[in-house]
Amino acid sequence: MPAVTSAKAVFSSDHPLPWLFPLIAMLVVFTIYPLIYNIWLSFHEYAPFRRELEYVGTDNWVALWNDERFWGSLSVTLTYFVVVLIIELVLGMAIALLLDADLAGFGVMRGLLTLTLVIPPAITGMMFLLIQDAEFGVLTWVLEQVGVLDGTAPILSTPSTALLGVMLADIWQWTPFMVLIFLAGLRGLPGEPYEAAMLDGASGWQIFRRITLPQLSKVIAIAVLLRGIDLFRMFDYVFVMTSGGPGTATYTLSLYAWQQTFSFIKWGYGATISLVSLVLILVIANLFIWIAKVRW
């Protein structure tokens, strides 16, 4: 029948558009429209008394540039991003190299690693809130016993240590993710170059630096990219553990955007902060992708 023939013709590999339509539709609804709306919103602000959005031009962008709290949040976010990323990267690689040795019991340990990943970050935040509690937290007690803390400055209530306390939860939860990715990368490496390097007289460190690390560069770039994006928009841990405090010591960009949008009902300003986050994430992500484009 002609109708059937025509449907067949449309849904053939010669016409890609019908196949791409569902994906394009989802992208438009869930990504492109919200992005455009966000950009539009950044040039408007909610007027509570008139209960409507009014055009404010570049006011939000100018205000952002002069907002000390924004720069403070950006500084906290970047500090969190750099410190946690480096620690998770180094620790993840070290544990992956260890587990790659395939000693007895390591198989079970590899399985256990996935457990931290299935816990919701908010729950992890609660766990570490309790662990670092000033009165009955296990970590607080241990650190007091070894003389690091003296009982006068609780970890999460002291500006100089609060961010470290939050970082601890992130590192505990997400280092295993790095381990799993690096382990998969290590398992995929051919064995013969290692044997050749041994015969060439290379030490363990030389083999790691010159053979393993360069071969893992793409895997590392992907891991850093995925974690980097997550770290940049970190919200859950600070929301649960410190609410950005003490003072603004743990205010990240995401938390600041949330506060401006939902606590202060400054939708336009919140959208502006989010857009800056987005641009920064895009810049950093593309930097990693560029670094990962190794020639070999």
Binding site: P190, E192, P193, E195, A196, A197, M198, L199, D200, G201, A202, S203, Q206, R210, I211, P214, Q215, S217, V294, R295, W296
Partner: protein
Amino acid sequence: MATVAYRNIVKSYGAVRVMEDLSLDIADGEFAVLLGPSGCGKTTLLRMTAGLETVTGGDLLIDGARMNEVHPRDRDIAMVFQNYALYPTMPVWENIGFSLEVRKLPKAEIRKKVEAAAAVLNLTDYLDRYPRELSGGQRQRVAMGRAMVREAKVFLFDEPLSNLDAKLRAQMRMEIRQLHDRLETTTIYVTHDQIEAMTMADKIVLMKGGRIEQVGTPDDLFDAPASLYAADFIGTPAINLIEGAVVDGAFKSAGIHLPLPPGTAATAGQRVTAGLRPSDMTLGAAGSITGRVVLAEKTGVEQNVHLDIGGADFVVTAPRDVSVRPDETVQADIPPQKIHLFDSASGARL
């Protein structure tokens, strides 16, 4: 340069013993080829020499020093792997110079040695390329360059030509042998290809089931195979093997009567197998073997004529200008001294 000696070597994987009481001496500057089919233990022996496999029992000696527990990096051995094992993230010149870099040689000296090796191996134009940008033959040469700059005591080759096409294999065979003649480094070369062994070796070590079947020069193995296995493994086309018995001072089988080779230890009535190399035989109007022509395979320089003798396939190598037709009955002959006789039960040469 160095001597390599294996004394009563044993190798086990758990409860499985794959090598038993193997002893062998390789002289200083010798090109020794470990030859045998898959699973015969030749690569295991090579990897034990390199230190990539542990030695379960016995002694491995390099220049008289026991090496069993010495780390691979301290054995002063260079190895070319079957899949080349190049460092994928390093360009050619770094691949070749890596062993010198880890020994902290000055950069200028490394560059000089790398360039010298590259010139010998025709790799000068490829020094900045990465392994994935090279052909199989070029990769093979990089692997050899890596071994060359080491100036190691011993070179090990693990089936290095098995991934190359026939033409390149022939070329690389020659290059490896020329390299050995130039450097005179003791070389142990593993292959399952008897042509590689015959064309390159000073000494062939024929292996079977984790033990040595025969050691000798290529001529020794071709002209005086120590066993049926050795006779069958060496030679292209393969040797013709005919089962029969010693009767009235001659070898007799269905349709074949041959004189015994001079000096044979065969006794009357003994079940024996005669081995006749196709290249030692001649086709003619008269001969002790009569057969029907099945096929004549022209190889270019000569032809392999397949004869049907009592239902068995029998090959005779003849000059290309000898005219034979399918189903034609022909005669073949062989000088008595070219006949190899083996005990059928033990396979030992008589």
